[in-house]
């Protein structure tokens, strides 16, 4: 019996090729391009002004909240895919269970909406 993993070999090849290409193309520039380093040029670019301080600064907590919400709804979406494949077999019962699952999360969405975690204007 042929291994059930054979259909996945091309995927491995694709990922390898993608990685190799992404590494080889910039390596070409490193070979072909000129190189001249001086201290002024090596500063980070701030539109011509002298560089002030470091860029290793904290940024708004909103981005972090967005990332956390993203995880929650991504996990929700992940639960939808196996359900979608079995959708017809599960019938109205499956529809109801997923409606319950999703409405719990919609409650969460309404909560963050009301709390203003999705507001970016201020």
């Amino acid at each position: 019996m042929e291994s059930p993993l054979v259909p996945y070999l091309p995927i491995l090849a694709v990922l390898l090729l993608a990685g190799l290409m992404a590494m080889a193309i910039p390596a070409l520039t490193t070979r072909l391009g000129p190189r001249s380093v001086n201290p002024i040029k090596s500063e980070s670019f701030e539109c011509g002004n002298p560089t002030l301080g470091t860029a290793r600064q904290r940024f708004a907590v909103k981005f972090y909240v967005v990332a956390l919400l993203f995880i929650v709804f991504d996990v929700e979406a992940v639960f939808l895919y196996p359900w979608a494949v079995n959708f017809r077999a599960l019938g109205w019962f499956g529809y109801g269970t997923m409606l319950m699952f999703a409405s719990t999360l919609v409650m969460g969405l309404v909560y963050i909406w009301k709390k203003g975690a999705l507001e970016w204007e201020s």
């Binding site: 091309p10 090849a13 993608a18 391009g33 940024f59 979406a77 979608a84 999703a102 999705l118």
Partner: protein, 472 residues
Amino acid sequence: MKMKKWIEVSLAIGFIIGALYGLMAAAYGLSGLLEGLLKDKFGVSGGAGFANLLVLMLGCVMVIATALTLAERKWSAMMQDRIGPNRATIDIGPLKGRALGGVPHIVTDVLKLLTKEDFQPATASKFLFNLGPILAFAPVFALFAIVPVGPTLEVAGQKVGLYVANPDFGLLYMLGIASLAVYGTSLAGWASNNKFALLGGVRASSQMISYEVALGLSLVGMMIAFGTVQLAGPTGMSEMQGHYLWKATVGGLDVGIPAWGFLLQPVGFILFFAAAFAETKRAPFDVPEGESEIIGYFVEYSGMKFGLFMIAEFVEVVVLSGVLTAIFFGGWTLPFGNEALASVGFFQDHPWVLGALFATIFWVKVILLCYLQLAIRWTFPRFRYDQIQTLGWKILLPMGLVNLFVTGALILWDPTLRSLAIAGGLEIALIAAVTLVPRGGAKDEHAEDHGHGGHGAHGATDAAAPALAAHH
């Protein structure tokens, strides 16, 4: 003069279609050969996948993406009433002094990027700085693997289809690999140790993850319609769309309404298109790279490292077109006459002739969708960042959920998908009515969803904020 131009354009289009047809015929031949070779020598199937990896991904996707760099410049020039790239010429014989539609610019662009200095700021984190462009390009390139380009047929005694891989988890591969592209932008932004780059990187990655939710959610409707997450194969979405919902035969030609995803899931299509467009970070979703303000997360990159970010964007445009074609526009099938074509005797004797024709149809659809994306890119003014987040979380996500459960109810009520198609037709009519009917009254009322056409870039800031507040 006008006549000459028409002839030239038709010749160019004919050449492109002919080249695609030849390439697809070669793809079938090579797949059949390699599949047979691997089976004989090693007893392993899957050779067709490797052949397609070369022809489809390196030969088609990369070449179309490269051509798009020129197309984008020409198209933007046309939109802005400029001439566009015409300086690079090949000075031999009769070609001397002719711009050739700007084609030599592709070569000069590549040469220029390759021979630039490979610069990195002294304060950058070296390893992560180099990792950024790799992680921006590699996942995007790998995405096309699951998209089926042509039908599965018998070539050289082997059953081959024009797709690289058809894993059981199909679209999950696409969503999973696409989610890795976030690291490219955020690493590029952080590792450069540049405030502008950091701001751009954080904006870009935050935008990408916000739209990834809607991206996955908008496809679930199509998944439940066909009960699969696979694109290729006899039960995959692409082939299932070739079946007719209503069918009639007129003089030997089969006509009817096919089960194209666009008809079944118009809302899903719009959500997916908007979300995927935001993932490409092109205008109107291009706040991570405003030339006039924060420059972009790749500000410190030069040469081909910058080039990778750029080419990744164009590859993403092609891949998105391919995925849209496979999921929503019937893959390689025509809206009518598929069965009539398949029953022609000559095609039954030489199935690859018809297969290459279908694959060419697929690529024509892809090129048309690329064109649509370029048009959108150069038509709409950009969103503000808060509008982008609002669109992602407050509009696309709830709409995706509602669409999902409405679709589910319709499918359970009528498993033949016909009710779903009728509902889809009504939705399309509604959307068309809302979009096409001219609106009276205050101009700045509709500031969010339709690109606030009346404002111009600077007027939007003041006018849109109260409109947004009023809307919610």
